[in-house]
Symmetry: C2
Subunit: 157 residues, 2 copies
């Protein structure tokens, strides 16, 4: 706990603001890069990636929603659009008739294959290659810590 629990000092405020605007800028740039080079949004790209990594290139909607960071409803809409574009297909799960399996189509897979190099280049250019390896690793650890801390703290004040 810091010296004064109620306010942020000038330094802390600066760090916080830089995180806020910096992360916004990076994420926005990546989103724009992806859109321009491939016509996909980050959410769509993430869906393709997760499905391609899943066995049978298929995942239940709820698992997909957890992996991609998205609400159920948001995923439904996203997948709906992707289905119309022919990138994925939906079929009711055999074992649990409430469930829906989302399956990557051939078209979806090759779309991902085309997109991936552009996206990787973008992530490198905007993030990985900008930082020293040590700083990049630190970044990963910091956000692991931050993410974990959120798990077991709901209420604030």
């Amino acid at each position: 706990m810091s010296r004064d629990a109620l306010w942020l000092d000038a330094q802390q405020q600066l760090h916080w603001r830089r995180f806020l605007s910096g992360s916004w800028a990076v994420l926005t740039a990546l989103e724009r890069d992806l859109e321009e080079t491939t016509g996909l949004s980050m959410s769509e790209y993430e869906v393709l990636v997760r499905l391609s990594e899943a066995e049978g290139r298929s995942l239940r909607m709820s698992q997909l929603a957890d992996q991609v960071v998205a609400s159920r409803s948001r995923l439904t809409h996203t997948v709906q659009r992707m289905e119309q574009a022919g990138l994925v297909a939906r079929r009711t799960s055999s074992c649990d008739r409430r469930g829906v399996d989302c399956v990557l189509t051939e078209a979806g897979f090759s779309r991902l294959a085309d997109a991936a190099p552009h996206h990787v280049a973008s992530v490198r250019a905007r993030l990985v290659d900008v930082l020293s390896p040590a700083d990049f690793a630190r970044l990963g650890e910091i956000f692991t810590t931050l993410g974990a801390a959120l798990e077991d703290r709901e209420p604030v004040s």
Copy 2:
């Protein structure tokens, strides 16, 4: 530049994904905290803060848009809503009749005064107090670097 310029290795991919989901989680939690405790969105809160720090508690729309991370159009909408809520007022700038000055009202100022402690507590709980001072400082520096790198790199591939 890393060993292989085209792909991310497993470690890099892990760091990158943790940044993606971690920053999303932190930002979302802060947004939700603020909404619940004060009824304000981050954008609105940021507008209040910047205006309160400006001399005359007043800023031109474009300056405000630069400080808050937002497009012109987005700021117009946000300020429109805030004006209807009585938090700010708009008047055409005296020196440049194209310009519009956005002014913080008394109601807006006291709304900010009420909100600030809750928001500070939230930022501490979700971010500042979760990290060691060294890591928090590192975070600030890392995003300064990342932000700066974006300034002078537009095209990607």
